[in-house]
Point group: C2
Chain length 136, copies 2
DNA sequence: GTAATTAACTTGTAAAAAACAAGTTAATTT
DNA sequence: AAATTAACTTGTTTTTTACAAGTTAATTAC
């Protein structure tokens, strides 16, 4: 039964995706890296979402373990730790964009700029490329 | 501060989306409805994922409250309760498809049929329409 | 060159949520 | 009328999260 369960967890792509980054705080960390250019532990903390220090540490650890983000010493200031999206992490852009499209459509108080949403609808690939470029 | 927090939750489309359906079990319930044609409480329970009865009830309640699914008495057997995706729920198809694409790409043991993934890559709109049709 | 500050955490504990097991209710079906 | 099905609810234990405080190691400020 355990085997069957495990097999299922691995086999279903939605379950697999969720296992790797399908948690409230993981989403927000990835969002901060992907769209807000955040790179440091403190920046994630100060994002104003109210994540606890221990939870943030735990999520960063898990995301790294799963290969979604990587962690290196900042080459400029070696006292800092630099987090960034791996290519596996960057490939989550379409997932995030789909969530942005859905969220902005259904939230009457969305803060997503109308222009961005229109561009996203008309040419998602262009938006994806732009984000990729900014992440280099 | 609470106000600011709330405003933020509403304003960011990713946070908004997650709030409405960004939880492990919500994803799986939506998946079961969207891709596996499940409609009844018992079917979700028996999906083999191991969700607890109270948690399932709670998720169904929340998803309904948020307008992602709807709940009616089954017209055929009025002892049964029929759950289905609202249009708001059906609009999550692109989010789920993006997760499927990511998951199947990175899971070496994916069970997603290669053909489906190829079709998804080549013509996501076609797949979306097919799923919509099946949900009618 | 010592003192304060910054950055990235860890540790302990209380509160909340999830998992597990059992029971309830109302409509069939036998 | 008794058993079964379907959809839950209600305790209780276990796990996770949130909150508060402390640690360490490298700057920066004086």
């Amino acid at each position: 039964m355990v085997h069957k369960k495990n097999k299922y967890w691995c086999g279903c792509p939605i379950r697999f995706t969720m296992k790797h980054f399908g948690d409230k705080w993981s989403f927000l960390v990835v969002r901060d890296m992907m769209f807000k250019g955040k790179k440091y532990y403190n920046e994630f903390l100060e994002a104003g979402e109210g994540i606890s220090t221990n939870i943030l540490a735990s999520r960063l650890r898990d995301l790294e373990k799963h290969g979604v983000i990587s962690k290196i010493r900042d080459p400029e200031k070696k006292s800092k730790v630099l987090y960034s999206l791996t290519s596996k992490g960057k490939e989550l852009i379409p997932v995030m964009l789909a969530m942005i499209e859905w969220g902005s459509k259904h939230d009457p108080n969305t803060e997503a700029p109308q222009e961005f949403i229109e561009n996203l609808r008309n040419n998602p690939e262009k938006i994806r490329q732009d984000i990729l470029k900014r992440l280099e």
